[in-house]
Each structure stands twice: as structure tokens, then as C-alpha cells.
Amino acid sequence: MTLHNFIFGAYPYLAGTIFILGSWIRFDREQYTWKADSSQLLSNKNMRMASNLFHVGILGIFFGHMFGMLLPHAWWQMIATDVQHQWIAIYAGGVFGIMCLIGAIMLFWRRISNPRVKAVSRTRDTFIIGWLLVTVTLGLSTIFVSSGHAAHGDVSSMIALTEWVKSVATLSVNPNLIQDVSLIFKIHIFFGMTVFLVFPFTRLVHVWSIPLSYITRPYQIVRTKHVRMN
């Protein structure tokens, strides 16, 4: 097995498994660690800017990747041509990516320079914001390649990447699909997958617990006394 085959053939499942199982185990065993670990109480300076930029940016990127790569090709073709699709990805990714980048830089800087935040930071806290920062930087770097492609109407890389993602998602992975895409994409993908790998070991787990139910929560909840727990 070549390195390419391992990273783009096995690694997605390794990362995915650890992501799922790890989250599950941590949720079950370490309920007290299941939190965002906010340090905003210790220092709120510039956090309105930094936190919002980062969070809006990264959520935009996340959903952008989801819609861009997992929607069936046919559906996309109903709304846009492949070239248009690629331009949408470039612009949307660029905007959200830059937001995320600025936010991440601010957060990272805060984490290593603010003495109070630094004092409560564990290695994994500094690591994860650093890793995300690199990942988003790599993601933004791909724009230079993909905008060149788009300008020449070349959508082959984009198609290859989306096909590969779908092959991963459908458990019929084919690393060969992206054998020839530019190296920058590959590095970005590797960093991105690693985010999932380390996810259960970091504060990222708070993503799972986004309190969506509050939107429809009734005013009063009565929890019955007799709970039959198996």
C-alpha cells in the first residue's frame, strides 16, 4: 500500500471511526469534560470579533463542504454549471475561509499571549486552534490553484475531489480518483481529516451539543420520577 493509498484509502475510515467511537465513549464516560471550555470569563477582550468571525467562518466552511461535495452531481447540475459551481465554491469558501482565518489567528494569538488564558490552556487547546488555523490556511491556499482551473474552465479537479468524497461516504473508497490532483488539495484533505481524528480528544466535542432543541423547547418540562433504565 502506498502512502497515497493509505491516506486517502484507509485514513478517512480511521479518522471517522475514532471520531464517532471516540465521541461516543467520551460522552458516556466523561460527561464532565463535555464542554466548550470557554475562557471568555478570564478575558473578553476582542472576543466579540474573534469568536464570531471564527465560528461563523468555520460553520460556513463546514456546510459549504457538505453541500458542495456531498450533494449528488446531478442536483448541482440543475442549479449551476460545473464552472459556476466551482466559482461559488471559490467565493463562498474564500469569504468564510478568510473570516475563519482572521478569527483563528486572533484566537490563537490570544491563547498564546494572554497570560490568563495561557495559564488555563492545556496543550490540546493550543494544538487544536493551531491545527484549525493551518487547515484553513491550506484550504484558502487551494483557491490559487482552483481559481486558475476555473478561469480555464477546467473542473476536473473539483469533480475528482467530489467523486472521491462520495466514494468515501459510500464506503467504496477509491484513492485513485485523486491521484493526480494538486498536492495542496491533498495536504488540505489530510489536515481536514485529522481534525476529525483529534476531535474527540479536544474541546471540539461541544459541536455535538449545539442546543438546537432550545428553539422548540416547551416552557415547562416535567421529568417523570419512575425511570426504567433497562
Binding site: 461516543w24 460522552f27 458516556d28 460527561q31 432543541s213 416547551p218 416552557y219 415547562q220 418540562i221 416535567v222 421529568r223 417523570t224 419512575h226 425511570v227 426504567r228 433504565m229 433497562n230
Partner: protein, 1246 residues
């Protein structure tokens, strides 16, 4: 089960809905709720309290979970109070509630710690084959070795050792010191026994058994109000807090109730619901001001003036303009108002002299017993001078007439207050005066009688009342044109005059004085003054206090429930004192113990006397005889010691054991022989009192034990002097100290000694500043890890400390620690000490016939040739004590034979303890072998608790019966009804673990425990007619001792704060920048009890998290200070660095630094001294007062913690300037030889 799988049922969790869908019923997982249940779930709950100096005495529930103390909560099971009174509960405050943090905190001392360099030295010597004592001797003999560990005190360097090793070293040091220098070169310091009695007793018992000195604390802390012994002959007795509720008018000054009496403050608030008017006199907007009806902000340090102004109104309107019947009767019976005073002709002036005595009359007026000690009144019934019952002369040598029944020679009398209607003449009398720019004396007209004495002299006599009215400046139409109106500010002591001095409006002083008196008149004395540290910590504290006491006595308030003074500082009533003292001072084996007045001790041994800038001559009254003119303050103290007034430690410039040996060589065979030998040698100068050459090496203190205390980090007034001279450490003393050369009685050494102590041992559960400067730190059990007893003056209950968990890590209870040391000491002394005879020098003691040593208050100094040195009369008493050193341990663990042989006593009352000793033998078991065979065991902490309680009248009805019977003999009055219902009661340790118990009324105290009244001081003096333990037997407005008159304190006079002159030299680095000179005020804190709690994470979080002091907005603005800036307070004593709190609460001219933020949390270096930024006491220095040294004269006689010099500190001023953040230096650099060698600030060479 799985939280995750449970979540999968998310869409299935709703079982039903209600309220139109606004509510749902679910059956989701509820396991998470257990988290909150477990937070409060525990394995057991144990009753304990906090042995901390706060007078709280609060019972707490300690919760233990998984073998660890998890949290604590207030107990709510106090026995009920009297009907109609609010409950005591809940008792406890934020500080106590945070204590469990300490148990497992980083501050906790876990193992025996020792200075690494010392350990290396000791191990090397031991390896070379020396025994422990020889090893210690070898280290001490080599000045380089000694300096290597002494010089780094306070700079860290501790290593972990074992109990065996450090205890061996401590015992060896003690043995060596006794052998080489004498047992009185070993000293122990621990405060406030009441907060954990057994722990206190542990150290004091060991030290007393080996002949070492135990130091007082109440006077050193300046919490002792010397005015109380002066006026009442009582150390301190106060009402319980519940009695505030019974009051109808309360003035509060110097005691911040919600902040420092937190668990009791509710009574003050509740009293307002009961209709009480509350007046606050805080200079700042203190927390208690909020529940006052009137705030009279007094300029700090001028309280005496305000109270004299109020006294003026009360005296004028209720005694002069009309004679309030209740006030008049009270004054006649319970005060010295009717006592007759002789007026002396001095130069061209007539001044008040001594009290008239029976001995002044022909045939001693028929009084054969102590006629010199019986004062005289004029009986308006028989129109003759008579000798009323109750003066101190009746107390000793006869029985049945020491009482306050208004009788003389068994006839009813009516003592005349004033002779104004029956006078022989009106004369001009001169009173000393101390208010700047008003002249140094006041001349007043007084009605007098002319009397020819037995001596043939014809003198003028008058009553104290007549003197006092004149001194208050009240016009009686005698022709001296005094104040006719309260608005006349030219006549001292009018309200307008007081307003000028205090800044309080005339109308407020006048109205408050009148209301206070009017209320007392209507309620028979239910007017109260709550007072405390803030007005007692001044050099002239006795004037502040006597100003208040005067008002209270004018209004008949003292001794009445709801009335009187309520002083709450640091004494924490040691309720079962009579049962405790024998154990604590080893009186069951040897008498007397060595006890020392700590203020004098530290003043001399830390060489603060060398820096004294207050001239005693400047303090003398214009009317002074002044035979000691030219004496420095230190000289007065040396004279007082040799006259037998106050104690000394060490006593002489020779080892007291050697003195006995030499005396025996010279032919002495018994105590009298040794005493005779010593007197001769003192006369010839072959042996001298140690304090005459205090800096000589043979007079240095050598070993110091500190336990239950934070001497260095908290109470050391003159902190930097301690560091320099006592410890030899890095210090910030900013002056050379040359003033002491002016001393006449103390030998001057050009070079001041430093590093006097060979060994300092700290015993604590947390590593604080005292530990940091010690050589050995021993880990002790916390208040949740041992059995002990706790009482307070604030409530009448006794309750325990008990063991919630075993002492953590290697800690042990204090009782066990000193037992371990005693055991090792016994072993080592086999070879090195054996049995020795030791001579103890004892001053004339209060509450004994010795208090009748020096009649008429005349000073007779044998060294000046006034008289011969006669032990017990004109010199200390010399007692020989045989010390069987190898049996120290055997003695420590058993209740010794003297309790049976000599019995027990307190306050001059004796009783036998035979029965109690037998009971204790069966309760505790007996010791099986050795010299203690068959004696009750004191081996375990609980044994000691039970022994204390069994021997004390407060906890054993039978002992109450015995002691009250002794009192009845003295007074001739049956007091048995006071304890009758509880005669059979015996309270044990296990009883109080079940529930706090109310104590039994005992003659130890002047209040009673009753169903009818709350505990209040002097209650039995008024209601049982037991005399106050003063010269006249009554509360004294007037003190006739020569030194009192010399210093102008015969009557209370306003004396402004003293200029200590330490802020006059502005350091070079401050000269050219803006700075402030502020009065340095150090009140008690909200976030700590002294230094305890203030370093706890929980308390630090609640305020600034480090040292701070408060400055007014205007002062801050004037030098550009902003809130939370770094500031330095500096003067010649040293410097302290903190953050500034800028607040409108503080008046201008004052900096408030709370007591006691010490240097173990967030204290940077000082830019001025170059040393660690210091503590609140880095800028203070003790100044002693000669009147506090008086002895051998009725109530002005020494007793431990009763009378003596006090460590005042509030007259101090500091220079305050801003320090830029960038200039803050944390001194976090390695210790280089250069840095180690430079102990003083730059430019200080001595």
C-alpha cells in the same frame, strides 16, 4: 447505562403534554441529577470549630466524604437563650465556611521541614560521632556555621525531614541552651488559649516544666485595654453579645460589628427592632455605620475628647444641676467618687495627691489590718470620715468585710460625693493638660475640707467627685468662671471644645451625651458602649478607654444588663481558666512558672529600644514630681523590673541554675538563703538584671517556639526589627538606631546584635511568614483533626474541636507534638542536665497579698538608694524550683501531685481539688510507672479536655460550690444562689461533642449565667456586692500612683496621638516625586481573621487577591493615584508594597491597611529598601508606656496578660507614593553570596 444510547430516544421521550403543549412530561434519563445529590452526600458529620483569634466561637458541622473533609456548615443546635431574646444562631461567617480549603491546600505543612543548611550541618556533626547535644553545641560554637543557616532565614531552602530527626535537634537545642545560658533563654509564644485551649497548654506545659518562659499576647497585640486593670482591677470582662439586645442606647466606636463580630452582629441589628438607638463613631464609613441612627465621624485617635465632651454634659446635667437618684446612689456605692484625696502643695501649685487612708488618722481609725490600704470617705450620716468596706486592705488578712455593702465598721453609712455644701475652703487646684496650644495645665476651683493627719500635717482633702467635676470644666459657681455654655470652646472638655478636636458637631456631642445619660437614668443603666481595637491600638489608649468608662460610671451603666462597656478584642474568654491554668503552666508539678510580658520582651530583644524617638520627658505632666526626668522609656522598664513590678526574661546576666549552685557553694541551704545571696549579689553588681545589658550575648533569647500563632507575619509590630535583630535575616529597617544611646539604665553597644536566636521552631498547619523565617516547621493537626476546647466572651457556651479525620500526612496534634519533644528532651537530659535547682524571679502578683507591697503608690527604687532591696516588697520575689529534667515527659503526661498538696486557686480564692483528682484517675486512667505512677493520665488530648473541665468551676458544679464558698468567706455574703441549681452538674468532653453546653456561674468572672439576665461584666460587683479588685474596691476615676500622676493620668485627660517621628526622613528616591504622609491605620479585615484565611484561595478571590491598602479619593488624586495602582508605604521602620484601593469611604489623611496581609501572597520587592515588600507591620514599631509598667500596687500589679506594656501602633505615619508597574520587582533571582551578605537596605550600616 449509556448516556449516548439514551439520547437516541430523544424523539420518543415525550410521554404527554399539558397546558396546550406549553408543558411536556418526559421519561428521560435522570442520572445527571445524582451529580447534585452527591455534592452534598457525606459519610459522616462531626462537630468542630475554628481555633482562630476572632471571638466567634462558632459551632460547625464538618462533613467527611471518602475520608476527606469535604465542606463545613453552621451548627444550629445551641441550647436556647433566655425568654424574649433572639437565638444565637446562625453563628459563623464566610471565613470559617472556607476553612476546609486549607486542609488540602498548597499552604498545608505536610511533613517536618527544616532549613536544608542546618540539616546538613547537624547530620555532619552526628556522623562524626557526636551525640545530639554535642552536635548542636558544635554548630553554635562555630560562628560561620551558625551564620550559614541563620543568615538565610526567610529565603526558603526547606527540606523534608523526619519527626525523629527534627525532634532530636529541638530537644538537643533546648538541653544545650539550658546548660549553657539558662532555661529562661528559651521562649514560647502562642496567643489566646480560649480558641484551642489544649493546644495552647501543650506548648506552655512543656516550656513551663523545663523552666522556659511563656510570653503574653493580649498586651502585645494591644488588645488588652490597660484601662480595664487600672479602673476595675479586671483584665477584661465584657457582656455576651446577646446582651446588646437588652440595651436601649448603644454607642459603637472602634469595633466594626458586621465585619469583625460577624456571627454576633445580628444582635445589634435586632436590638434596633427592640427600640435601641445606635450611634456610630467610626472615622471612616465603616460597615457598621449602616445600622446607626447617627454617625459621628470622629477624627481618628481623638475618641477621648469626644467622650469627655459627652461626659461633661452627663455630669453637669445629672450630677451637678440635679442629682439623679439612681446615678448618685451608684456613684456612692460602686465608684471612687466619694473617696477622699489629699491635695499636695507642689512648688507654688496645689495638685491632687494620693487617696486618704485609714493610716492617716490617729490609731489607724481602729483598723489594725492593712490600714495603709484602706481608703476613706466622708459619711454624711455621722458627719465624719469613715473607712468603708471593700477596699483592698479588707481583702487580705481578714475576712467578711471585703464587700460593697455601704457600711463602715458594720454601721450603715452614706458616703458623701461632694463637700460643696459643707466645705471649709475653696482652693485652686492645678490639673495637667495635654492639648496642644492650650497650655500644659488647667487651674480649677475646688471645695475642700481641711484635715490634720496623724503625722501632724494639715492638708486639704476633697472627693474624687469634686476633682472630676472641676477637671471636666463644669462651672459650679465657685468663682472660676468656667464654661457656662456647651458652646464655649475655650474651656477644655465642653462639647464645643470636643467638636474642635474631633470634628464632630457640638450639637451631636451634646445631644448624644444627654441622651445616653437620660436613657441610663430611665432604664437604670441600659446604655452601652461597644468599643474595640481601633481605639485601643493608640499609644494613649487608656485615655480613650477611660473617657468612655467615665461616662459609663457617671451614668451607672457598668454591671447592669444591657449597659456598660463591651470591648471585644482578642481576649476570647478562657471560661474554664481555673481548670486549665494548672495544666497549661505545669502548676501541678512546679510553682511558680516563668511568664513574661511580651511587649517589653520584644521591645528589648528586637532592639526596638535602640531606635526610640519618643522622649519620656515630653510625656511628663506639668504637675509631675518627675524624679525620673531624663529617663528614656527603656530605662523606666528596667527600673520597673528591679523594683519587682514587671517580669523579666531572662532574669539575670547569669544562668539561674548557676546562680543557685553558687549560692549553695556560698552556704545557702534553702530558698531564703538563695534569695539572700541573690539580693547581695544584685546590690554589689556581681549579678545584674539582664535588661541592664540586653544586647550582651549572654542575655539573648536562644530558642523560640511559636505555635498557634503568626508572630512574624502578623503581630510583630516592628516586623523589620524582628527580622534584623532577632532573626538576623534580610530586613528593611531604614534607620541606624542611635537614639538608644541616651539610655541611662541600659548599656549601649555601638554595634547592634543581629540574629540572636539559635533556633526558631514554628508549629503550624500552614506555611506562613513565621514558618518562612523559622529553622524548623512542624506539621500540626488542623481544627478538624484534633480534640480540643473552645470558648468565647461572645456567648456562654463551651464547645469542642473534634476529630473529623485523622491528622493528614505526617501532622500531629499540638498536645502530641510537645509530648514527643518532652520525651526526647527527657532522654537527652539524662546525660546533660540531670536534676537542677533554678531560681525564678517573680514580680508582685495581682490578686495576691503581694499586691499590697508598696503602699501609697510611692516609688521606692533600691538602686537609687530609696530603700533596701527586699524581695516581695521593693524587689522581685526569688523562688527556687527544683527541675528534674529527665522526668519532664513523665510529668507532662500526668496530672501532678501539687493539685492535691496545694489545691487550686483563681483570683485570690483557694480550694482543694482532692475529689476531682480522684474522679479524673478513674475517668482518664492512671499512669502505671515512674514518678507519675498512680496519677491521672494526660497522655491523650481528650484526657486533657476532661481534666480541664473537671477542675474548673464553669464546668463542674462541685468546684463552683467550692470556689464560691471561698468567695463567701471573703465577702461575708452568701453567693450560693448563683450556682445552686447546677451544683451536681459535671460537663465532660463527650457532652459538648453532643451539644454545646452553657457554663456554670463561677467567681472567676464578674458576670453570671442565669435565667433572668444575660452575661454582663461587673454584674456581681453591683448585684452581689463583691468589690472590684482595685485599691478602693470600686471603679476608679482616679489613680494615685506616683507614675500615674507624673504622666498626668491620675484622672482621664485627652492626649492627642504621639508623634513617632519616623516619617520625617523622606527617602531619596521619593523626595522629588509627589507623595503623601498618612496616618497608618490597621483595622481587622473582612476577608481574614488576622493572617488566617487572607491567603486562602477562596478569600483572595473575594477582593484584590493580594496586599492592598485604602486611601481617600482626594488624597489619591493629589498625587495622581488611580485605583489598583501599586503603591509603597515607607518610613524609617521599613516599607510595604501593595495595591491601592481608592475610595470615598476613607477620610483624608489616613491609609487603611487591613490586619494582617502577610508576605506569602503576591508581595513584590520594595523599591526603597530593596527587600521583600513587607507586611502591615513593616512600617510600625512598638513604643512602650511607663504607666503600664507600674506594679506592686493593688490593681496596678502584674499578672500574665493582665497588666503590662502594650504594643500600640496607630500613632504611626507613613510616606505613600506610587510605583509604576514597570518598576515592580518580584525579587525572583537566585541567591548569590553577594545578595546573601547584604542584609540591610543600601546605606544602612549598623
Amino acid at each position: 447505562m449509556s448516556h449516548f444510547l439514551d439520547r437516541l430516544k430523544y424523539f420518543n421521550r415525550i410521554k404527554s403534554t399539558f397546558s396546550k403543549g406549553h408543558g411536556i412530561v418526559t421519561n428521560e434519563d435522570r442520572q445527571w441529577e445524582d451529580t447534585y445529590r452527591n455534592r452534598w452526600r457525606h459519610d459522616k458529620m462531626v462537630r468542630s470549630t475554628h481555633g482562630v483569634n476572632c471571638t466567634g466561637g462558632c459551632s460547625w458541622k464538618i462533613f467527611v466524604k471518602n475520608g476527606l473533609v469535604a465542606y463545613e456548615m453552621q451548627q444550629t443546635d445551641y441550647p436556647r437563650t433566655r425568654d424574649d431574646l433572639p437565638n444565637h444562631e446562625p453563628r459563623g461567617c464566610q471565613r470559617g465556611a472556607s476553612f476546609s480549603w486549607y486542609l488540602y491546600s498548597p499552604h498545608r505543612v505536610k511533613y517536618p521541614l527544616i532549613r536544608g543548611r542546618l540539616l546538613d550541618l547537624y547530620r555532619t556533626e552526628r556522623k562524626n560521632g557526636k551525640d545530639p547535644v554535642e552536635a548542636w553545641a558544635a554548630i553554635q560554637a562555630d560562628s560561620k556555621k551558625r551564620e550559614s543557616y541563620v543568615g538565610v532565614r526567610g529565603l526558603g531552602g526547606f527540606v523534608r525531614s523526619t519527626w525523629d530527626e527534627v525532634v532530636e535537634m529541638i530537644a538537643a537545642a533546648n538541653v544545650y541552651t539550658i546548660k549553657k545560658w539558662g532555661p529562661d533563654r528559651i521562649y514560647g509564644f502562642s496567643p489566646i488559649p480560649a480558641m484551642s485551649m489544649i493546644s495552647y497548654a501543650a506548648g506552655s506545659r512543656y516550656l513551663s516544666l523545663i523552666g522556659a518562659g511563656v510570653g503574653s499576647f493580649y498586651d502585645w497585640y494591644c488588645d488588652l485595654p490597660p484601662a480595664s486593670p487600672q479602673v476595675w482591677g479586671e483584665q477584661t470582662d465584657v457582656p455576651e453579645s446577646a446582651d446588646w439586645y437588652n440595651s436601649k442606647y448603644i454607642i459603637v466606636c472602634g469595633a466594626n460589628l458586621p465585619m469583625t463580630r460577624t456571627p454576633d452582629a445580628h444582635f445589634a441589628i435586632e436590638s434596633r427592632y427592640n427600640g435601641t438607638k445606635v450611634v456610630s463613631m467610626a472615622p471612616d464609613y465603616a460597615e457598621y455605620v449602616k445600622f446607626a441612627d447617627l454617625w459621628m465621624p470622629v477624627k481618628q485617635g481623638t475618641d477621648a475628647a469626644a467622650f469627655m465632651g459627652m461626659g461633661h454634659v452627663a455630669l453637669k446635667e445629672f450630677h451637678v444641676q440635679k442629682q439623679d437618684p439612681y446615678f448618685t446612689e451608684y456613684a456612692r456605692k460602686y465608684t471612687d467618687f466619694p473617696m477622699q484625696v489629699i491635695l499636695n502643695q507642689q512648688d507654688d501649685k496645689l495638685v491632687s495627691g494620693r487617696f486618704l487612708r485609714a493610716s492617716d488618722f490617729d490609731n489607724n481609725m481602729g483598723e489594725s489590718n492593712n490600714p495603709e490600704w484602706k481608703t476613706v470617705v466622708y459619711d454624711s450620716k455621722t458627719k465624719a470620715f469613715v473607712v468603708p468596706n471593700g477596699s483592698v486592705g479588707f481583702r487580705w488578712g481578714e475576712e467578711g468585710k471585703w464587700n460593697l455593702l455601704e457600711q463602715a465598721n458594720s454601721n450603715d453609712i452614706e458616703a458623701e460625693l461632694s463637700c460643696i455644701d459643707d466645705k471649709d475652703e475653696i482652693v485652686d487646684v492645678t490639673f495637667p493638660h495635654f492639648t496642644p496650644e492650650e497650655g500644659d495645665s488647667l487651674v480649677r476651683k475646688i471645695p475642700v475640707r481641711k484635715l490634720t493627719l496623724a503625722s501632724g500635717d494639715t492638708v486639704y482633702v476633697t472627693s474624687v467627685f469634686d476633682l472630676q467635676v472641676a477637671q471636666y470644666g463644669i462651672d459650679r459657681g465657685l468663682g472660676d468662671n468656667l464654661a457656662t455654655s456647651y458652646d464655649d470652646e475655650t474651656v477644655p472638655y465642653t462639647p464645643a471644645w470636643a467638636a474642635k478636636i474631633t470634628g464632630v458637631p457640638t450639637a451631636d456631642i451634646e445631644r448624644t451625651g444627654r441622651e445616653f445619660a437620660d436613657n441610663a437614668s430611665k432604664t437604670k443603666g441600659k446604655s452601652m458602649v461597644i468599643l474595640g481595637a481601633a481605639i485601643n491600638h493608640w499609644y494613649h489608649n487608656d485615655m480613650n478607654y477611660r473617657g468612655i468608662m467615665n461616662l459609663l460610671h457617671i451614668c451607672g451603666c457598668v454591671g447592669q444588663s444591657g449597659g456598660g462597656w463591651a470591648h471585644y478584642v482578642g481576649q476570647e474568654k478562657l471560661r474554664p481558666q481555673a481548670g486549665w491554668a494548672p495544666i497549661a503552666f505545669g502548676l501541678d508539678w512546679h510553682r511558680p512558672p516563668r511568664q513574661m510580658a511580651s511587649t517589653t520582651y520584644w521591645y528589648f530583644h528586637t532592639d526596638q529600644w535602640r531606635y526610640e524617638r519618643v522622649e519620656a520627658d515630653d510625656l511628663l505632666a506639668s504637675t509631675a514630681k518627675g524624679r525620673y526626668k531624663g529617663y528614656q522609656l527603656a530605662d523606666y522598664n528596667v527600673a520597673a523590673q528591679r523594683m519587682g513590678w514587671t517580669p523579666s526574661m531572662p532574669h539575670f546576666d547569669k544562668n539561674p541554675i548557676e546562680i543557685v549552685k553558687e549560692a549553695e557553694k556560698a552556704g545557702a541551704t534553702d530558698e531564703a538563703g538563695v534569695s539572700k545571696y541573690l539580693v547581695e549579689k544584685l546590690k554589689s553588681g556581681d549579678i545584674n538584671f539582664a535588661y541592664e545589658d540586653i544586647d550582651a550575648e549572654e542575655n539573648h533569647p536562644r530558642n523560640l517556639f511559636v505555635w498557634r500563632a503568626n508572630l512574624i507575619g502578623s503581630s510583630a509590630k516592628g516586623h523589620e526589627y524582628f527580622l534584623k535583630h532577632l532573626l538576623g535575616a534580610q530586613n528593611g529597617v531604614m534607620s541606624e538606631g542611635v537614639e538608644g544611646e541616651a539610655c541611662k539604665e541600659v548599656k549601649w553597644h555601638e554595634k547592634s546584635p543581629t540574629g540572636k536566636l539559635d533556633l526558631m521552631v514554628d508549629i503550624n498547619f500552614r506555611l506562613n511568614s513565621t514558618g518562612a523565617y523559622s529553622d524548623i516547621v512542624l506539621p500540626t493537626a488542623t481544627w478538624y483533626e484534633k480534640a480540643d476546647l473552645n470558648t468565647t466572651d461572645m456567648h456562654p457556651f463551651i464547645h469542642p474541636l473534634s476529630k473529623a479525620v485523622d491528622p493528614a500526612w505526617e501532622s500531629r496534634s499540638d498536645w502530641q507534638i510537645f509530648q514527643t519533644i518532652a520525651k526526647k528532651f527527657s532522654e537527652l537530659s539524662e546525660k546533660h542536665l540531670g536534676t537542677q535547682k533554678d531560681v525564678v524571679s517573680l514580680p508582685m502578683q495581682h490578686d495576691t497579698p503581694m499586691a499590697l507591697a508598696q503602699p501609697f503608690g510611692e516609688v521606692k527604687d533600691w538602686k537609687k538608694g530609696d530603700c533596701e532591696p527586699i524581695p516581695g516588697k521593693t524587689a522581685p520575689i526569688f523562688k527556687v524550683v527544683e527541675r528534674d529534667f529527665p522526668n519532664t515527659y513523665a510529668k507532662y503526661i500526668a496530672l501532678g501531685p501539687l493539685m492535691k498538696k496545694l489545691g487550686n486557686n483563681i483570683k485570690g480564692l483557694d480550694w482543694n481539688t482532692d475529689h476531682e483528682i480522684e474522679q479524673l484517675a478513674s475517668l482518664n486512667g492512671v499512669i502505671k510507672e515512674g514518678i507519675s505512677k498512680g496519677m491521672p493520665s494526660l497522655a491523650e488530648d481528650i484526657h486533657v479536655c476532661d481534666a480541664v473541665m473537671r477542675m474548673a468551676p464553669e464546668t463542674n458544679g462541685e468546684v463552683a460550690h467550692k470556689s464560691w464558698s471561698a468567695q463567701t468567706k471573703k465577702t461575708g455574703i452568701d453567693h450560693s444562689h448563683l450556682y445552686e441549681g447546677r451544683h451536681e452538674e459535671k460537663i465532660t468532653y463527650h457532652d459538648i461533642v453532643a451539644q454545646p453546653r452553657k457554663i456554670i456561674t463561677a467567681p472567676t468572672w464578674s458576670g453570671i449565667e442565669s435565667e433572668k439576665v444575660s452575661y454582663n461584666a461587673c454584674y456581681t460587683n453591683i448585684h452581689e456586692h463583691i468589690p472590684l479588685r482595685t485599691l478602693t474596691g470600686r471603679a476608679q476615676f482616679y489613680l494615685d500612683h506616683e507614675w500615674m500622676l507624673d504622666f498626668g493620668e491620675g484622672l482621664c485627660a485627652f492626649k492627642p496621638p504621639v508623634d513617632l517621628q519616623t516619617h520625617k526622613n523622606v527617602p531619596a528616591n521619593i523626595k522629588d516625586k509627589p507623595y503623601l504622609v498618612l496616618n497608618w491605620i490597621t483595622p481587622h479585615s473582612k476577608w481574614g481573621i488576622h493572617s488566617t484565611y487572607q491567603d486562602s484561595n477562596r478569600m483572595l478571590t473575594l477582593f484584590r487577591g493580594g496586599p492592598y491598602f485604602w486611601v481617600s479619593e482626594e488624597d489619591a488624586k493629589s498625587i495622581g493615584l488611580k485605583d489598583n495602582d501599586w503603591v509603597e508605604a515607607v518610613n524609617d521602620n521599613g516599607a510595604t508594597v501593595a495595591r491601592v484601593v481608592v475610595s470615598q469611604r476613607v477620610p483624608n489623611g489616613m491609609a487603611i491597611m487591613y490586619h494582617a496581609q502577610e508576605k506569602n501572597v503576591n508581595v513584590p520587592g520594595s523599591n526603597t529598601t530593596g527587600k521583600r515588600g513587607g507586611i502591615l507591620n513593616s512600617v510600625t514599631r512598638t513604643v512602650i508606656k511607663p504607666t503600664h509598667m507600674i506594679g506592686g500596687y493593688a490593681q496596678l500589679s502584674y499578672a500574665f496578660n493582665y497588666y503590662g506594656t502594650v504594643g500600640s501602633n496607630r500613632d504611626e505615619h507613613v510616606i505613600v507614593h506610587k510605583i509604576e508597574d514597570k518598576d515592580i520587582d518580584w525579587l525572583e533571582r537566585p541567591l548569590t553570596p553577594e545578595r546573601e551578605g547584604k542584609k540591610n537596605p543600601s546605606g544602612i550600616n549598623n
